[in-house]
Amino acid sequence: MAWLRALGSYLPARVVDNAELAPLVGADAAWLLRSTGIEERRYAAADETVATLGIAAAKNCLEAAGIPAADVGMAIVSSGSAERRFPGPASTIAAACGMAGKPAIDLPMASAGSLFAIALAAELTRAYGNVLVVASEIMSRVVRMDPAGRDTAILFGDGAGACLVSPETGFAEIVDSVLATDGDFADALHLDFDAPLSMDGRAIILQASRKLPRAIGEVLERNRVLPTEVGTYLLHQANLNLITRVAQAVGAPEERFFRNIARCGNTSSASLLIAATEWWRGAGGTLGGPIVLAAFGAGLNWGALLAR
């Protein structure tokens, strides 16, 4: 058994609204909002790194859990925007949190990385006890900030989220998960060394519109939960229109799909945990039914996780 025990997040202080971003990328602010549902996003300060954002979110999560770092047996950190090839941010984050000596694993997966990390953590709690999952991204430094980069620059923001997965107790038990990968579309979304992020948005939306509802349907069906019985859907905040599409395809009321993309933009793998944290704080311990976490992104990697 594994439980979602606590969540935490960190958003950089600097707010970048559409009026500031639109002229940089040769876009109209109203079109930008209509196309993405994003009103503003956060950008990291020059002295912030993927690790420092992750540390802030991890500490926020541990504080919410009310347990010392000494009681955490492992850290798994997802990021698609880490500053260097190795080591990734996991070891720095673990050390800063007081987890020196405990294994810290990097998962260099954008977008769906945090979902994969939670699913893996659920399996690893038996051997390592509490597992701290962190997702941290500075996407503003990997997109092209000019008209040629318009279609990606308008989407992304920076931030970090964290989740403590525990073998003992928590606010929701992880029941099951569905994870999948399709490498035939690896080139549809990629970030190469020394080049800005490249995305075939049409291919990504087309694939996500099918694969994400299918994964959600699969995890619900095999656990005999109806889409309408789910209290809250927590999705990777990729695009407001995509979330609406997924809700329609799944057959659940759209208002049950938590959204914070208007304020945060798409923070890649961090977005699922930032959204989950905001929902969890607002819910005040009341689940209102089973919860579904789902994400889709580069790889292509996608999946869904059921907890209740």
Binding site: D200, I205, L206, Q207, S209
Partner: protein, 77 residues
Amino acid sequence: MDRQTRIVEIVKRVAGKPIEPAPEESLFESGALDSFTLVDLVAGLEKEFAVKIPDADLTPRKFDSVERIEAYLRNRS
């Protein structure tokens, strides 16, 4: 109705605007389709022509013009 006419009708319906796309015209470049109406187009084609388009075939290039859509459906039949 021939296949091309049926395709055009679906494109017009999902685009939600009065358009008359030429067979070779790029539906994306002309603004007839965007990322999300492309999803509707694929669903519309599956229903109209009673075919299941697999994920592996879901590349925007295959659906970029009426001519290309027709060629794809012809190869499927």
